[in-house]
Amino acid sequence: MKRILQTLLITIISIPISVAAQGFPKKDEVKDSLAYITVYSQAYNQYMPWKKKNVVRNTYYGCAVSSSQILTTAEALIDSTFIKIKLNSSNEYLSAKIKSLDYSLNLALLEIDKGQDYKPLTPVVFGDYKEGAQLRSYWLNSRSEVITGRGYMDRALVSKSSCSHTRNLTYVVANASQETGWGEIFYDQDKAVGIASWFDGDSKESGVIPAETIKIFLEESKKESYHGFGMIGFKAEKLIDPARRRFLSLPDDETNGVYISSLRNIGTGAEELKVNDCIVAIDNHTINAYGKFKHPLYGELNYEYLITSKPIGEKINFEIYRNGKKQSLEVECKNFKVEDMLVPYYQRSKQPKFIIRGGFVFEQLTRPYLKLWGSDWRGSVSPYLLDIYKRLSFKPTPERKEVIILSQVIPDDINVGYQQLAGLVVSKINNKNIGSMDDVFDALNGDSIDGFDIVEFELDYPTIVIDRAKAAIADMNISQRYRIPQMQNR
């Protein structure tokens, strides 16, 4: 009876459902906070960037964060072309658009399109982490039924999501009774603690994007423009080798700290830190020799949390040893777009940059391109391209912002003799250094060399010589013969 009265009270005064509730919410109490999301997506074909792959349909789950806004994973919306929502209160699909999206946090906010008739959603209230807490998961299925599962909060850690290179706070739900990992919401009693983003069938564990992360994401989403959170600009290694500690001139009584083994050209600390700096504290949190600090709520966490949970522009204080001397460094929290990487790890919802000239296809080197070599791509792909990817992905320079490759040659009379060339790194076109696709466009549209476009490559490959006048005609023929709708996408 008490439960019924409480539920009635909540309904009447229209406050978020779980504020006054005790215990886990009943299905009826959460049904208006859940959404069933159908996403149609279509990625570009990396090998033939003028083409798209087949349309794929996937379903995910979401939860309300306002009367018209739904939270889900960013992963769900990669390459999305159409999003439709089903709510418990309506039999009809509602269309929605992406309001904000952060792949690093793996979170996305959807806004139901205006002008559609539906019962306003009841926003979820998020609570805090409690280790060992019994949890319940909820989601809405395709028949608008609320489904539940169980598990318990096992631990918090800092890990990568499947759609980002950054490590962020993640809760791990153990003994999960149901496969969850597609945006299902987890509750600890009457408060939501996060949404599920992965599931490990072997360990029966589910990864949950924490309420803490969701809160900062929603706050950031309210701003006029979304700027996001910090990304690491260096690589730090554990510092447990006594010889190395002495080599770095650390005092004998200093037992903490990790050392910088390499620097990126982008991200937080890339400019301020130096190789062999030893980081002993970040924002007054002592970093131990394994790179962990003590969080009051989560216990030991990787130091990266202190950067990846910080809004960009904020100052971060690093306490370091440099050449044996302790000093403080004020470092600005920075991040970068995946497009800023020399070899982007992802090509999400974007057409790869390309230009075809004389049947020669020039593309930007990206990890999705390398992954064309299949699941064992690291063992099969050109070792030269793999080396660039492994060593230089985070090291763009003003002169070299992108790596441009000749990805393939579309056979035609104009390129006879060159048709077997593929996967070569372009160094120069018409004597101009090539450090981006813009450079390629400019060089091919600028002055030719005696009527020829001259393309040179890194390593020992022949120079490509394209008769510019003939290429214009050849490209028209190639476009028709091979049904290529666009010969470039600048």
């Binding site: 010889a243 002495r246 390499s262 070792p383 030269y384 793999l386 060159y418 490959y461 008769d467």
Partner: protein, 492 residues
């Protein structure tokens, strides 16, 4: 000793057909011998150790001067060789006279030849057989004690890879005569003359066997006639054989009807560095005209232009004609054996160098070291080693660099307990001094006066720190503990 196959094949002999050659078959058979050997290769990751020894059976035949000609792969790394004639139970101890791993040939001598050569005749080396003619293979396939004779047709003559070293390429003759493990080194006859030596086969196709043609055999026999085997020459340059684009020809300022191959680069320190430049177009070699596919008409066949070089011995002069900036120029090159910094060929009968310090084992980066990853080594080796293996000759511009030095093993000890991740890394410097060879590295470490040795690596920003006092104190114990016979192979 098994026939070297690209991938091993074991096929049944489907027919045994006797040849109708003019020389008596029985007489010919007496000249074909069985070779039994025990071989043992070093462990290229821990060179003080040897790998388990292997036994094998192959074939060979008698040639002039009481020699036996066979495949190098029958006797490479041999510790013990026995030769046996079909007609007798007696086994004769033999030794390698000359071995040419680069073309998979060797000559043997019988240690105590009394009676061995009685009623045998040396087989005569003939010429290249014509395509589509019949040849007869003699040998001891699959270990049988009776000589097997099979017949086949010459189906193709081309330049191909010799799998014994995995890298060297020479002319080969393809035949459909059954060539099986054990046939290796046996003569392939036509009109009572040797026209080839059976040596390798294919697994991906049925009844495709390969023999070493007499052009290669004669090259070997000529080479050793001065009492020393020098090997095939190699011109250290990278060539593009695909000059079919008219625009490319015009860019290179070639006359309208000129054909040839384009020079892409020359190897650092090679014998042709001063002779050719990028974008030279070589149109003629030793008088042979090179077409745009890089082929020449030689021996009545259209073969890779390298065949013109193959005819020469190291030290010979070779004439070239080439176009540079629109002008036809001539040059003469003295044939040398230019090799890339990582030798792509497998090595035999060598004692690999090594140096150990603080449990770290340093060796030279070689194909043999990389092959320690097993059959799928080319896929399984660490990506940076693969990168160097494929591209070192293109990326290296350092004339001082003699070899890459890699940490092949870390023998566990207190000195190196935090350094496991540096295994298989390629050393760039010691205490910021460049390492150009294994001996360089050893010298820099042995002469170090600092408390710590700072080792940096290629393709990796990390630094490895060795506590030199601790390492020195532990060196002897580590060697003893892991049964390492000496600290290095060269005197430390």
């Amino acid at each position: 000793m098994s026939v070297r196959f690209y991938l091993a094949i074991i096929a049944l002999i489907t027919s045994i057909t006797f040849a109708t050659d003019s020389l008596g078959i029985e007489e010919m058979k007496k000249s074909v011998v069985m070779i039994q050997s025990a071989t043992q290769a070093p462990d290229f990751t821990a060179p003080w150790k040897m790998q388990p020894f292997r036994q094998g059976i192959g074939s060979g035949f008698i040639i002039d001067n009481e020699r036996i000609l066979t495949n190098a792969h029958n006797v490479a790394n041999a510790k013990y060789i026995i030769v046996k004639k079909q007609s007798s139970a007696q086994k004769y101890l033999a030794r390698v006279e000359f071995i040419a791993n680069d073309c998979d040939l060797a000559t043997l001598k019988i240690v105590e030849p009394a009676g061995f050569f009685d009623s045998t005749s040396s087989l005569e080396i003939g010429d290249l057989p014509k395509l589509h003619t019949t040849v007869t293979t003699y040998g001891f396939p699959l270990g049988g004690s009776q000589l097997s004779v099979t017949q086949g047709v010459v189906s193709r003559i081309q330049v191909d890879r010799y799998s014994h070293t995995g890298a060297d390429m020479h002319l080969v003759i393809q035949t459909d005569a059954a060539i099986n493990p054990g046939n290796s080194g046996g003569p392939v006859m036509q009109n009572a003359k040797v026209v080839g030596i059976a040596f390798q086969g294919l697994t991906s196709a049925e009844n495709i066997g390969y023999m070493i043609p007499t052009t290669v055999i004669k090259h070997f026999l000529t080479d050793i006639s001065d009492g020393h085997y020098d090997g095939y020459g190699n011109l250290g340059m990278s060539i593009y054989p695909g000059l079919h684009s008219k625009s490319y020809s015009r860019y290179l300022k070639l006359p309208e009807d000129a054909q040839g191959v384009v020079v892409l680069s020359t190897l650092v320190g090679s014998s042709v560095t001063d002779k050719f430049k990028k974008n030279d177009c070589i149109s003629k070699i030793d008088g042979w005209e090179i077409d745009n596919d890089g082929k020449i008409m030689i021996y009545g066949l259209r073969l890779h232009y390298a065949e013109a070089i193959e005819a020469h011995q190291i030290g010979d002069k070779i004439d070239f004609e080439f176009y540079r900036d629109g002008k036809l120029l001539k040059t003469t090159v003295t044939l040398a054996n230019d090799r890339p910094i990582i030798n792509y060929s497998k090595m035999y009968d060598v004692k690999p160098d090594y140096y150990t310090y603080g449990g770290f084992v340093f060796v030279k980066l070689s194909r043999d070291f990389l092959e320690s990853w097993g059959n799928e080594w080319i896929k399984d080796i660490p990506s940076y080693l693969k990168f160097l293996f494929y591209h070192s000759s293109e990326i290296n511009k350092d004339t001082h660099l003699k070899e890459y030095v890699v940490i092949s093993k870390i023998l566990p000890d207190e000195v190196n307990s935090y350094s496991e991740r540096f295994r298989n890394k390629v050393v760039k410097s010691v205490n910021n001094e460049p390492v150009n060879s294994l001996r360089d590295l050893a010298s820099l470490i042995e002469n170090n006066k600092n408390d710590y040795i700072e080792i940096k690596f290629r393709g990796n920003n990390e630094t490895m720190i060795i506590d030199s006092k601790l390492a020195k104190a532990h060196n002897a114990t580590i060697l003893e503990k892991y049964n390492v016979t000496s600290q290095s192979s060269f005197g430390y």
